[in-house]
Symmetry: C2
Subunit: 230 residues, 2 copies
């Protein structure tokens, strides 16, 4: 508590007066009332970024998938479950935002059909037909009055190549590339990021997600201010 | 704390000297290093049963899927993730057990193939081939020296019919049938159970999972003692 208070006093509120939208956690795509598809995002990185942006003086809205984390102090949290709900909530919020940090691990695929009753098991196998979910970040980057958009790329291989392609293809301002492997990325307290923007990149070395988030929020603010407010 | 201590003093340790194995929570079936299939079990009912069995004087082992719950006092917890791991852990533990309470919502289906790298998304849909997981409770009920086995049936329709069929078909001693619907069953603190055994049944009305677990553990102990130790 004391350290938190001291940090606040020593930190210049470099995002004062700015609105920041952070998305965090996984989404769940229902298959029947009991079963769902999801992914290993713990939400910790997104929650740490929301906390760090609030520390930096921003008004922070956090759209969160299902996670077992407390809402950071001073942050307005909106709870969602599916990719569609995440998408809808972002569309409602985004117009008022200066910066969007899309850290949620939104499901890329969802079941084509959702059963209204529990599917009874049989002795046979089963085929689950999946369809793509809407790519909300790509949609938002096409808006005329879009915020400064920071994306994430969680990868198990070809990290920078994949991240660089997403940066260009999705019309992002910055992207944080994130190895997902044993003991790093998802479900752990530490992380490292490679941050790319148009014409540059920097490696943020492995540390606690809390500390990493503070460093990354400073970097985002620098690039945001350099670009000039919309 | 005081109420907990008072409850212990007033409760006869009717499971003293008995070994109880409880399974709890969902399982996760990986599809690639990031994505998985799971279900909405919070683990709360199973954890409450483990706590109530320990209160009743039993030596309790809890095999748990991924949940956001603390291990109850005095309970030995074994952490697993997939249905296969749950099955393996149960096979190791079961020989030493007097009573098995299989409360975990073990996945019935898992992907036939697990990708070792994250599956890159395309613009097209995708088909996920699923196969049945081993039905460990059914396997255990075929053991010569099997424990007293209590199963669970979480249903969205035909509750008693489905539960009654599972009781007979899986060779269980008792089964707790559990409606899963908005505000009941999974992901909530309250629950109600219909408990069936060969030749009888009782409705345990809706209350907190903690209280319900204490009532149910007493009922299990009565039937276990009536049957006579193996």
């Amino acid at each position: 508590e004391l350290i938190g208070a001291a940090t606040k006093l020593l930190t210049k509120p470099f995002l004062a007066g700015r609105s920041v939208l952070v998305t965090a956690g996984p989404t769940r795509e229902s298959w029947d009332p009991i079963r769902f598809l999801s992914n290993r995002s713990s939400g910790k990185m997104g929650y740490a970024l929301a906390a760090a942006a609030a520390e930096a003086g921003a008004q922070v809205t956090l759209i969160s998938g299902p996670v077992a984390l407390e809402t950071p102090l001073g942050v307005h949290r909106i709870q969602v479950e599916s990719a569609q709900q995440m998408c809808d909530a972002m569309l409602v919020q985004v117009a008022a935002m200066d910066i969007l940090i899309a850290c949620a691990a939104v499901a890329d695929y969802r079941p084509v059909k959702q059963a209204t009753q529990k599917i009874k098991k049989t002795h046979q196998g089963l085929t689950l037909e999946l369809e793509r979910t809407p790519d909300i970040v790509e949609q938002l980057s096409n808006l005329a009055d879009k915020p400064f958009i920071v994306g994430f790329a969680a990868e198990t291989e070809h990290l920078e190549t994949n991240a660089s392609r997403k940066l260009k293809h999705k019309g992002l301002d910055m992207i944080a590339a994130n190895w997902v492997r044993e003991g790093q990325g998802f479900e752990v307290d530490d992380n490292a990021l490679t941050v790319l923007w148009h014409g540059g990149k920097v490696d943020l070395p492995r540390t606690s997600k809390t500390q990493l988030a503070r460093t990354f929020i400073k970097l985002i603010a620098e690039h945001y201010h350099a670009k000039g407010p919309a």
